[in-house]
Amino acid sequence: MHIEYGKDTGVHMGRVAAGDAAGDGPLLRAQDLAKIFDVSPPFLNRVLQREEKSFLKAVDGVSFDIPTGKTFSLVGESGCGKSTVARLIVGLYKPTRGSIEFEGRDMASITRRGENSALRRRMQMIFQDPYASLNPRWRVGDIVAEPIKAFGLARSGSAINDRVGELLMQVRLSPKDAAKYPHEFSGGQRQRISIARALASEPEFLVCDEPTSALDVSVQAQILNLMKDLQRELGLTYLFISHDLAVVYHISDYIGVMYLGRLVEWNEARRLFRNPRHPYTRMLLDAIPDLEMTGRERTPVAGEVPNPITPPSACHFHPRCPFADERCKRETPMPIRLSDGGTVRCHGVEEDRLPAPSETIRKA
């Protein structure tokens, strides 16, 4: 369909099985999405120092579906491209390749201004740092009212004020807070303001880029609870970006694990944690500190995330993978469908030569 360059054909990485999703098609479908940044030195340097152009494949052929009313999470370490996916979806970046469909319509095909803004109104974003994402010179009321005005959702001043008060109540703040400035609030309260602003345009789809990473655990619990409540009340669909697997376990219906620009494993959340297939997923799960204190000996995997500008050949994970062989260095693994509906990109899984995941991480 929209697959070009002959890449990543065969299995759609994160296709929700027919019976799994409520309703017909998914709300959002990303198909072979890629974003390549040109990180070359300036022209003159290239000529003088005889350097080649260099490219950073931040996202390299990522496909997934998000069914209406569900939460899909992308997890991975810094530099894996998860935030770039978020930005591609809300339109802050233009994809180099691939397509994004919202309710079955390719976003790239929408060129008429009015139609575009109508679509954009329906998806909003919540950012990681509530200190940086709110303008310190604006009153909270103006911040929350901006989307209402921008999309013309209410005309009169009093209607806008009523709506702002309602939104602040929805995120468990007081309508009186509209007159205050962001610095008068704590981190958790600011994140509530960001959520109120995101909800102001009455969206159906929210992209949340590490919304709780900058917060303390007790505040994180408040925000996660609020997000779950809002999802139930308003029927929202979430794309949730995080590096914290415990948070992701708590909030997600589906999970995709990213490593250096590729989606290496995708599954329904509980299944992914119960039976992680990809060695990288297993490593991430194994790296979580153990609160239960079972005294299990963890084996931290050696090495760190390589430089994404010069990623390792074929399967990017092979230098850190305890099960890698010659094939993993030569041939890029393609997504394969698993018996439980998930997908994974790993030769080891395909050849069925990986040991069963250790007992300790299967406690989930």
Partner: protein, 354 residues
């Protein structure tokens, strides 16, 4: 000296420590009357949310409180010797030599203008009277010990040539190069990726036990504490609210704040629709509530809580600063609870109805 090596004397003793910040609008009390010990070779975890005073406690021990912050009351003793009132030069000698430090961000704790080797050698030679060549040999050994591949090549590189995890390894090597008795690690893994965190925690624990150093591990991550620490102190609004063996605090939290904190951490394998939520926010230093600072947010608050401030009292195998564990109150409250008239019931009902 014989006194200080006696077995039952703790390595570090903090008594009634109070840290104040004089400001134009009055004095802020950031750490208020806290006491704890660290035994030789022990790992003490200090947890709490931002603003609880945990990092300040760490910096006051090592004598690096940023002015105008100052130790207003109490004492800090290392091996029976007071160190909180030492002149700058004497404290400088203890720092590094007897107390090592690992900070959160390895990029700011290494000097970007000098090679890693230069910084290690300089530190080793500050504390030990050995030749440059011997110091270099020691530095190479240390780099190898902390798991840096090809130390002979890496030693002459600059911090920016190292990745985050590798940099933190160098910082650990630096902290341990003079064989200190105590290492204060302030959020050593917070800036690192999850897969690296596990490596660094394991390394820190191994290095300190090999070098016989005790550790004060300051972090907000309960998981890291559960895995690493022997005992844990939980801080809230400048006070220690609970202290005890780590297994006890994690599994049987006594203080309502600790209980709430543990419940608010999402767990893999625990399917809960909602996480336990501590209502409200941590009070600002200018508005610390009377009595127990946690009382406005506490689900088990009763009459005494806003009037008198509780000190640490025995609660099972731990100690908790909570009136629920006061002997007189305990029996009275138990009787009331059995009769279905616990004083906090009323409040919970009122909050639920609102």
């Amino acid at each position: 000296m014989a006194e200080s090596t006696r077995k039952n004397q703790p390595l570090l003793q903090v008594k009634n420590l109070r840290i104040e910040f004089p400001t134009r609008r009055g004095t802020l009390v950031a750490v208020d009357d806290i006491s704890f010990d660290i035994d030789e070779g022990e790992v003490l975890g200090v947890v709490g949310e931002s603003g609880a005073g945990k990092s300040l406690t760490g910096s006051s021990i090592i004598g690096l409180l940023e002015p105008p912050g100052r130790v207003a009351e109490g004492s800090i003793e290392l091996e029976g010797r007071r160190i909180d009132n030492l002149p700058y030069e004497k404290m400088r000698r203890i720092r590094g030599n007897q107390i090592g430090m690992v900070f959160q961000d390895p990029l700011t704790s290494l000097n970007p203008l000098y090679t890693v080797g230069f910084q290690l050698i300089e530190t080793i030679r500050t504390h030990e009277d050995i030749s440059e060549r011997q110091a270099r040999k020691r530095a190479l050994e240390l780099l190898g010990e902390v798991g840096i591949p090809a130390p002979e090549r890496r030693i002459d590189q600059y911090p920016h040539q190292f990745s985050g995890g590798m940099r933190q390894r160098v910082v650990i090597a630096l902290a341990l190069c003079a064989n200190p008795r105590l290492v204060i690690a302030d959020e050593p893994t917070t800036a690192l990726d999850v897969s690296i965190q596990a490596q660094i925690i394991k390394l820190l624990k191994r290095m300190c036990s090999e070098h016989g150093a005790a550790v004060m591990l300051v972090t907000h991550d309960m998981g890291v504490i559960a895995e690493t620490a022997d005992r844990v102190a939980v801080m809230y609004a400048g006070r220690i609210v609970e202290i005890g063996p780590v297994a006890e605090v994690v599994r049987n939290a006594r203080h309502p704040y600790t209980e709430g904190l543990m419940g608010s951490i999402p767990h893999i394998g625990h399917d809960v629709e909602r996480l336990t939520q501590i209502e409200g926010t941590m009070p600002r230093l200018t508005e610390i509530p009377s009595g127990c600072a946690f009382h406005p947010r506490c689900p088990k608050v009763f009459e005494r809580c806003d009037k008198e401030r509780p000190d640490l009292m025995p609660a099972g195998k731990s100690w908790a600063a909570c009136w629920l564990y006061d002997e007189a109150e305990r029996d009275r409250l138990r009787a009331l609870e059995e009769a279905g008239e616990a004083p906090w019931k009323q409040r919970a009902g009122a909050a639920g109805g609102a």
